[in-house]
């Protein structure tokens, strides 16, 4: 007997207002309704945790495909009658759910990453076959890539076909291709998930890249902090050798290709291509000036193409479906999809893959489910330490390379961090500046000295010692770093500061002039006091104060001595009556 299933979910009130969870009531109402109609054995009503619809009130879905949104208690009877008669209550259905589009993540979570058989059963290595026996020439593959409009997913968005073409045109005895798996942005883990979830697609992409530029040796550069990714890529490479997909005369063609893994020791700068090359060569991972670009003079002075993991995972799909089909997805200048690691103060953190041109609002609210704890969104941050913040006023911007750049951020590798009203922009800028300061390799002075100076000014402001002239100094240092630093890390390191200054200068000024932190985040600027009207004199704050800054007794009440207070916030947390004020 084919059983029908109804499932329900309370998705919260419209526009994010908190609503008491009604699912339990609706569930029991449904159960009663089913019993009244004698349907309890043929229909199961199940409570689901999440089905990707948000801010729609109570959602009731009847499998296979009917969905009712904003269902009220009195509607349930009608829905059940419709289920019994096999009809639909039309007026409650209208709405389309936002959809993700999975190209890069097509196999992630679907196939066993450690099995080459499963990969081959889902179109695996068909693209390689097509390249070797149908397209046959390097020109045709590059032509396909050109049609697809694929741009590098590592951050800068350089057209992939151009990179390949430059390297192809060089006539030398040896060329190399490298997969850049040195993902180091705080909060970004797209590459790790692809390497772990679908290693063969990256291997196949790298092989096709190798064929197109005429390279016979490829390297995976993966950071050692990703042991599982390394293990699975190694397994994939081994399986390819066993099956004759790597080595001499692959599939009986005259294309030969070898692959090896190189481990990165976790320096952020090694994601920069010239530093990465130095690291593979066994030298210290520091960048050197470009040009010559790696596609002309790269690894061991030979032409080298370096592509990001996500870029390469797109390649087999493009070859299989054709460049034109791929170019249909996305915007005018940015084709295809982008994987984002949605993190921070968002309800559903995780990986999302959306077509280019999807708005930030759709990503954060429709797919991510909105802000955690129903707070108000303040901004989002993209591009990690090289990117910037995008204030909430620009949430309806369609995401692509150009639009993000206009807003003062970058696409980056795809971290998207959601920030709510509790996040202080000075603190955010300081966090990223500290990261860049720690990771600066120290080879060029604009970056080495610039990051240290900027961090100094930011700390000064956050600790309440800021002067108004510091803002101009920050701007001046930013400009000189952007112009004079040697590599991408140094040139983009000021971005978080520049973008927060651009949109949130007022917040900086409050820190400097009033010595206050509007988001109540910067510790040194906070002060605590006991609100006597609310205080029940329970003494909990007194007992919890490690610094002995709270004095008093259960009869007279308590006071906080701000000179002794270390601003740990413990009293604020423990007070059950919200009688400790923070400002």
């Amino acid at each position: 007997m084919d059983k029908k299933i109804i499932y329900i979910r309370d998705t919260g009130g419209v526009s994010g207002t908190a609503m008491p969870d009604k699912t339990k009531d609706v569930h029991s109402l449904l159960l009663n309704g089913l019993r009244d109609r004698g349907m309890q054995d043929s229909v199961q009503a199940v409570r689901v945790a999440d089905i990707g619809a948000y801010n729609q009130g109570v959602v009731v879905k009847v499998l296979p495909d009917t969905a009712y949104y904003g269902v009220k208690d009195e509607d349930l009877g009608r829905i059940l009658d419709a289920v019994k008669q096999g009809t639909v209550v039309k007026e409650l259905t209208a709405r389309k759910e936002p959809k993700q589009l999975r190209i890069v993540l097509r196999n992630c979570g679907v196939i066993d990453p450690e099995s080459i058989e499963e990969y081959m059963a889902s179109e695996g290595y068909q693209a390689l076959k097509k390249v070797l026996f149908e397209l046959k020439t390097q020109e045709k593959v590059i032509e396909e890539m050109k049609k697809s409009g694929l741009r590098g997913r590592g951050g800068a968005g350089y057209p992939t076909w151009m990179k390949w073409n430059f390297a192809k045109q060089m006539s030398v005895d040896q060329k190399y291709v490298i997969c850049n798996g040195d993902e180091g942005d705080p909060g970004a883990y797209m590459d790790r998930s692809v390497l772990e979830g679908d290693p063969h697609s990256v291997v196949e992409g790298l092989m096709i890249a190798g064929f197109s530029v005429g390279a016979t040796i490829g390297y995976f550069y993966i950071r050692a902090e990703y042991p599982l990714a390394v293990e699975r890529i190694q397994k994939a490479i081994d399986q390819c050798y066993e099956n004759g997909l790597l080595g001499k005369n692959i599939l009986g063609s005259n294309f030969s290709f070898d692959l090896e893994i190189r481990l990165g020791a976790g320096a952020f700068v090694c994601g920069e291509e010239t530093a990465l090359i130095a690291s593979i060569e066994g030298r210290r991972g520091t960048p050197h000036p470009r040009p010559p670009y790696p596609s002309v003079k790269g690894l061991w002075d030979k032409p080298t193409v370096i592509n990001n993991v996500e870029t390469l995972a797109n390649v087999p799909y493009i070859v299989n479906r054709g460049g034109d089909a791929f170019a249909k997805v996305g915007t005018q200048t940015s084709k295809g999809t982008k994987v984002f690691a949605l993190t921070g103060k968002v309800k559903n953190s995780g990986l999302v893959e959306v077509p280019m041109g999807t708005t930030i609002r759709e990503i954060v609210f429709d797919i991510g489910g909105g802000v955690y704890n129903n707070k108000n969104i303040k901004a989002i941050q993209t591009g990690g330490p090289s990117g910037g913040v995008i204030p909430k006023d620009f949430l309806d911007t369609p995401v692509d390379y150009e639009n993000l750049q206009k807003l003062g951020s970058i696409m980056g590798s795809g971290g998207m961090i959601v920030m709510d009203e509790d996040d202080c922009m000075v603190d955010i800028a300081r966090f990223y500046q500290r990261f860049c300061f720690d990771e600066s390799c120290g080879k060029c002075s604009p970056c080495r000295i610039g990051t240290a100076q900027m961090l100094g000014f930011l700390s000064k402001i956050a600790e309440g010692r800021g002067e108004i002239g510091d803002l101009d100094n920050l701007r001046r240092i930013s400009q000189s770093m952007q112009r004079a630093a040697l590599c991408g890390l140094g040139q983009t390191a000021p971005n978080p500061v520049v973008s927060t200054l651009r949109y949130y200068e007022d917040e900086y000024k409050v820190h400097i002039l009033q010595k206050k932190c509007p988001s109540k985040k910067c510790r040194n600027l906070l002060s605590y006091k006991i609100i006597t009207e609310k205080c029940k004199k329970c003494g909990l704050c007194f007992m919890n104060c490690e610094a002995k800054a709270i004095t008093g007794n259960k009869d007279d009440g308590y006071t906080i001595d701000m000179n002794k207070c270390v601003r740990c916030g413990r009293c604020f947390e423990v007070c059950k009556f919200k009688a400790v004020g923070k400002e």
Binding site: V46, D65, G109, V110, P113, K129, Y189, E196, G244, E353
Partner: protein, 117 residues
């Protein structure tokens, strides 16, 4: 396995083997393992054997919903394909008993339902 040739690659694509009728997939990327997917995978394999339930327990990569790992995807004949999230030992056993054996979905842990065409 012997070396793959051009022809055998074509054959693999053609004879896409019909998927096992009943399977469970556990997301075993770093995010899943950190949340305890390893344990869930072991429990599912052991308990399925103990209860003589005919189901293939497999590993897969990250499906993207990292906030509700460990994720377990269940496909049983005659039932929609369901993704359970925040699966612990208890829920894993419930999935085997309720979903796979009794053909009833488990409350409060479903994060995605796909309708089979």
């Amino acid at each position: 396995m012997s070396k793959i040739t051009r022809e055998s690659l074509e054959n693999i694509a053609k004879q896409k083997k019909p998927e096992d009728k009943n399977w469970i997939k556990v997301g075993m990327s770093s995010c899943g393992i950190a949340a305890g997917a390893d344990k869930v995978f072991n429990i599912l394999t052991e308990e399925a054997k103990k209860r003589n339930i005919n189901v293939a327990v497999k590993k897969c990569g990250c499906a993207g919903m990292c906030s509700v790992e460990p994720l377990v995807e269940v496909n049983v004949e005659g039932m929609p394909q369901v993704t359970y999230g925040r699966v612990n030992a208890e829920v894993a056993v419930q999935i085997l008993e309720e979903h796979i054996h009794n053909h009833r979905l488990v409350n409060d842990h479903i994060y995605d339902i796909q309708v089979k065409k």
